[in-house]
């Protein structure tokens, strides 16, 4: 039984990533545009915590490239950022799993905030200046969404026994 389920329903993970990608380009009202959560980063963080042997930095990097093509940024920009996020999550994995939800959210806020700062720095290098503080808002929204994403995906994982 255990041997047979070594990698079951792995496609569900990719399905969530595909949905995340759709969400990250879906049209939003103007004022909400600035609050768009980092969907891919959230999903990556969850799966990296849940199945670190399956979703790692290489996955993050590939997804980041896809996001670069979608957003029309330099190839490698979002790849770098998602890789960094996944690295931080993986290196804090043992501790994060023990934390209560609000604490997890806090850590996510810090990690995503850092990533957004790197994003700001990179886009300043390439000439697209952006207002500084507003850029941390997506990290905040993502952190607020984290508990729901986390519960939802955990339910999904239990239901389909993804591992």
């Amino acid at each position: 039984m255990v041997g047979a389920t070594a990698s079951r329903n792995g496609w569900m993970i990719w399905l969530t990533f595909a949905i995340g990608m759709l969400l990250s380009v879906s049209p939003l009202p103007q004022f909400m545009e600035i609050l768009r959560p980092l969907w891919l980063a959230l999903l990556l963080a969850f799966w990296a915590l849940a199945l670190p042997q399956k979703v790692g930095m290489v996955t993050a990097w590939c997804l980041g490239l896809a996001e670069d093509v979608l957003y029309g940024t330099l190839l490698g920009q979002n790849a770098l950022i998602l890789t960094l996020i996944t690295f931080l999550v993986l290196s804090l994995q043992q501790r994060l799993r023990m934390f209560p939800m609000w604490q997890q959210s806090l850590v996510i806020l810090v990690i995503f905030g850092l990533a957004q700062l790197v994003q700001l720095w990179l886009s300043a290098l390439t000439g697209n200046r952006q207002p500084t503080l507003a850029l941390v808002l997506p990290a905040l929204v993502s952190a607020l969404l984290w508990p729901w994403i986390s519960f939802g995906l955990r339910g999904l994982r239990r239901r389909y026994k993804i591992n």
């Binding site: 380009v25 600035i34 697209n128």
Partner: protein, 370 residues
């Protein structure tokens, strides 16, 4: 270790992508698949529109039909005058040995997505490299210039809007030809004119048209109207703010402009050829495929600013049509190529004659005689 490799790889990719064109094919191949997601996210709205039009009530449809018919009549009416003005403009320019005969072809594109980054003003349209779109191609909507193509993908392309902070466009005040540069501000309703002297003759309500000086945008398309001019004695230049005429964040259907690659001589020859054909047929429906644009811009100017260019005056007396110029004004900025290529035969003889006459009276008098 893996992190290090990936980071180095990303940085290398970024540098290569920024400096060389090596990665363009990779990007366009990836976009072939990935750009579908914009299409998918756009799907609900598309479906909703489909459903709405399916179940639109009959009275609504009839009303809309009526409205479109009226609008069509108005535009047809304007086309008649436009054709005469166009011919006249061509002839006058020939007399002046001027080469600014612009004959553009346009194609309709549809918006399929907005850039998710709120700090850039870019949109994604459903026409790409395979449809003949080229880098830097100007994009219009029904009311004015919107922006230019900055990234090509096989079936989609990315358009940088005028109001993006990294975008500037050379413009001209339509009233007196004063040149300036309009830069985007990051606000979809605001452009700013850079380095306009405090004493420059520019005032609220002036229409700014593209001057064509940057070799990127064709000359004469409406860009913005001046909203306020602030003279601050502490500042070296006047602060001029303008509102783009195009509905930058509302338009769904856009026009891609393919500019004419013919040389001035070829254009003149073609015009002469068309004229000969016309004469031979005694007023047949042949005309240079699309109507040149300068005349189109003159029309709104005539309604907005009375008594400016002499060529604009004949646009007012609408002898042959039941059209009131003032009522027609808002639609006047519509690019001409959307209008039918063939013009009503009634004005054809009038077009042929005015060549030798003084330009101002020509179409008006012929119009009066008919």
């Amino acid at each position: 270790m893996r992190l290090l490799v990936l980071v180095v790889l990303s940085v290398a990719l970024m540098v290569v992508d920024a400096r060389f064109t090596l990665l363009k094919p990779v990007r366009s191949q990836m976009s072939l698949v990935l750009m579908q997601s914009y299409w998918i996210t756009d799907l609900p709205q598309r479906l909703w529109q489909g459903v709405a039009s399916q179940f639109g009530s009959r009275t609504e449809l009839v009303a809309e039909n009526e409205k479109l018919k009226t609008e069509n009549l108005l535009l047809q009416g304007r086309m008649q005058k436009l054709a005469a003005l166009t011919e006249q403009n061509v002839r006058l320019r020939e007399l002046l040995n001027s080469s600014a005969l612009v004959n553009e072809k346009v194609e309709v594109a549809e918006l399929i997505g907005m850039d998710p980054n709120p700090f850039t003003h870019r949109i994604i349209i459903n026409k790409g490299e395979r449809d003949g779109v080229v880098l830097g191609q100007p994009v219009l909507d029904a009311r004015g210039l919107m922006g230019q193509v900055v990234e090509l993908m096989p079936y989609t392309s990315r358009v940088l809007l005028l109001t993006d902070t990294t975008h500037s466009i050379p413009v001209q005040v339509n009233r007196n030809g004063l040149r300036a540069i309009a830069s985007g501000t990051g606000n979809p309703e605001r452009l700013e004119l850079r380095h306009v002297a405090d004493t420059a003759d520019i005032k609220e309500g002036d229409l700014l048209v593209s001057s064509g000086l940057g070799q990127r945008f064709p000359a004469g398309y409406p860009v913005a109207t001046v909203k306020e001019v602030i003279h601050d004695s502490g500042q070296p230049f006047a602060i001029v703010r303008a509102v783009p005429t195009a509905a930058l964040n509302r338009s769904r259907y856009l026009l891609l402009v393919f500019s004419d690659t013919r040389t001035p001589e070829e254009r003149a020859n073609d015009a002469a050829q068309a004229q000969e054909n016309l004469d031979a047929q005694g007023g047949g429906p042949i005309i240079p495929a699309t109507v040149p644009k300068p005349a189109a811009v003159i029309a709104p100017a005539a309604a907005a600013v009375p008594a400016t260019a002499p060529a604009a005056t004949p646009a007012k007396p609408a002898a042959t049509t039941p059209v009131k110029p003032a009522a027609a004004h808002p639609a006047a900025a519509k690019p001409p190529a959307t209008a039918p290529a063939a013009k009503p035969p009634a004005t054809q003889p009038a077009v042929v004659k005015p060549a030798a006459k003084p330009p101002v009276s020509a179409p008006a008098t012929t119009g009066g005689r008919e």
